[in-house]
Symmetry: C2
Subunit: 324 residues, 2 copies
């Protein structure tokens, strides 16, 4: 309605790529899209709010990247292929440079995975927020749910959980570390501000993984959800956790373990594989472009039991840290 | 993550109806849904923010109704059938009674049109907001766009544009009127707080309407968009505008006309019909359950020309009133 929101519309609309499956994108009352035959539609919605899910001082490019990445990560965890995104953006004021950077981050990621922005809404809001809905597809029957893990399945995780939370702690200025360590190109910082959704890994796990979830609230909490949905538990070893060189350089072992288990913001995949399918994971890291680590085994008895050198390891109760 | 947001999840999840086309709804990383064969998917996203799109004092039931209604109205304007909704809800604090009322309003409308909530996100936000994405379907080729109106087509509108804006003005306490006139059961007030999306009308207009749009920013602005998208203009008569008895009782004629043309929040449909299809509208009001009025004609020359008793009528430039 206002000139500002017309400009916003232009900032987004001119970056949209065409695609045969988008019959009508931005500009009508709704978008009209077509699914490939014999596919099911997968839909995810996640909202990020300034001060809760990202620092009010976060680079706009990171906010644009993350609001899409966290949604694509949900599609990855269903073994789905992304197709389209819709963006509801709440803005406290009009800052063209901020919006251009936000759009740069959003579209750099969208274009990398051929995701088309098909619509959305831009509204004035006291709190800055970005609510994204993504739609993707999966061949009928190929979806990987949370709820089908069985006792005896092995538990795997992609990447290095904890790095993003470590980056968040660096970015929020943990008194342990001098400010000079907060460098945008530092791996931990990059893992927090620009997490890469594991779409290739998710898709490669069709017909291999028995259950899968993406890590947003921390490995311990999210794996707990998968096991609860599956009516099972797990026995795990903290010594197997793939701690990165970077997290070990910046934090002592207890802090690094806590970040890996409870830190959140990872957007890695955690999944279970039946014993007779383990051999299908040969060469997985190369095919899917991400490291893979076995961290434990599914058991009948409910609950997560973490061990450290043969003793019980008690997961710190700090839980997920928001900015609030 | 917090206990509050677990309860919110329960408030919404227990009201969700089952459906064969929802293979996985709330509770996994994403929802998995199936489209009827030979259909295209229609997606709309609209966000409402407290203070901008609804009064901070608005009844929670109305906020729940409206955040879904404005989206369903977009599907109606595409002649689509609604299927699923996703809700991203930003809350400044946890108020269980407010949330129950919000959910009452949301699900009363959703259930009336068999719309299933398939997912979403609940987040803490300084500003209260509700961002909804709805998905629907339309048989291949049956969609009605904005852009296909032709010179000679007649222009129609459903219902009584202006009533919702009149209700909004009453609710915000226009000094013209005593407070006692603000009555929740009053038709104008109801039209503002509980607009009914014209889904039956939209669907009934497949293969009749050449172009269609829903009225959110006011008849003048939205019809202008339809005509611009169609590369056409229009000649219209303000005397034909269907002013309700209620708006005429509460406002003088100039004020009522301004509300009807510029008030916004109507969620009525405005559409064009080629002359050879006018007879197909016989009995339309009964079939679609809403009144229908012819208000003008599409012309080649761009721009909207409103006439009053044979003279030019200049549309007030007040435009759309938000609460900001």
């Amino acid at each position: 309605v206002s000139i500002e929101f017309t400009i916003i519309n232009e900032i987004f609309r001119r970056r949209v790529r065409a695609g045969d499956d988008v019959l009508l994108g931005i500009g009508d009352d709704a978008a009209l899209t077509r699914l490939p035959d014999d596919s099911d539609l997968v839909t995810a919605t996640d909202a990020l709010v300034a001060g809760t899910h990202f620092l009010t001082t976060a680079p706009a490019r990171s906010v644009g990247h993350r609001c899409l990445a966290v949604n694509l990560s949900d599609l990855a965890a269903m073994a789905a292929e992304p197709l389209w995104a819709s963006l509801a953006l709440g803005l406290p004021d009009f800052d063209r440079a901020w919006l251009e950077d936000f759009a740069d981050g959003f579209f750099a990621l969208a274009d990398r995975y051929a995701v088309r922005l098909i619509g959305g809404d831009t509204v004035r809001s006291g709190s800055l927020f970005a609510a994204v809905t993504v739609q993707g597809c999966v061949p009928r029957g190929a979806v990987v749910r949370r709820s089908a893990a069985s006792a005896g399945d092995l538990i795997y995780v992609t990447g290095c959980p904890g790095d993003a939370a470590a980056g968040r702690r660096l970015a929020t200025g943990n008194p342990q570390l001098p400010e000079s360590r907060v460098n945008p190109m530092e791996p931990l910082y990059r893992q927090f501000y620009f997490p890469e959704p594991r779409l290739a890994a998710g898709k490669a796990l069709r017909s291999i993984a028995s259950a899968m979830i993406d890590l947003s609230d921390g490995l311990h909490a999210d794996l707990g959800r998968l096991l609860e949905a599956s009516g099972a538990g797990a026995s795990l070893d903290v010594a197997r956790l793939p701690l990165s060189i970077d997290i070990r350089a910046a934090f002592d072992l207890p802090a690094a373990l806590e970040l890996a288990l409870c830190g959140g913001d990872d957007y890695e995949l955690c999944f279970t594989v039946p014993p007779d399918k383990i051999s299908l994971l040969d060469g997985f890291a190369e095919r899917a472009g991400c490291p893979l680590t076995m961290i434990g085994e599914v058991c009948k008895e409910s609950g997560l039991r973490w061990n450290q050198s043969g003793l019980n390891y008690t997961v710190p109760s700090s839980g997920f840290e928001h900015f609030e």
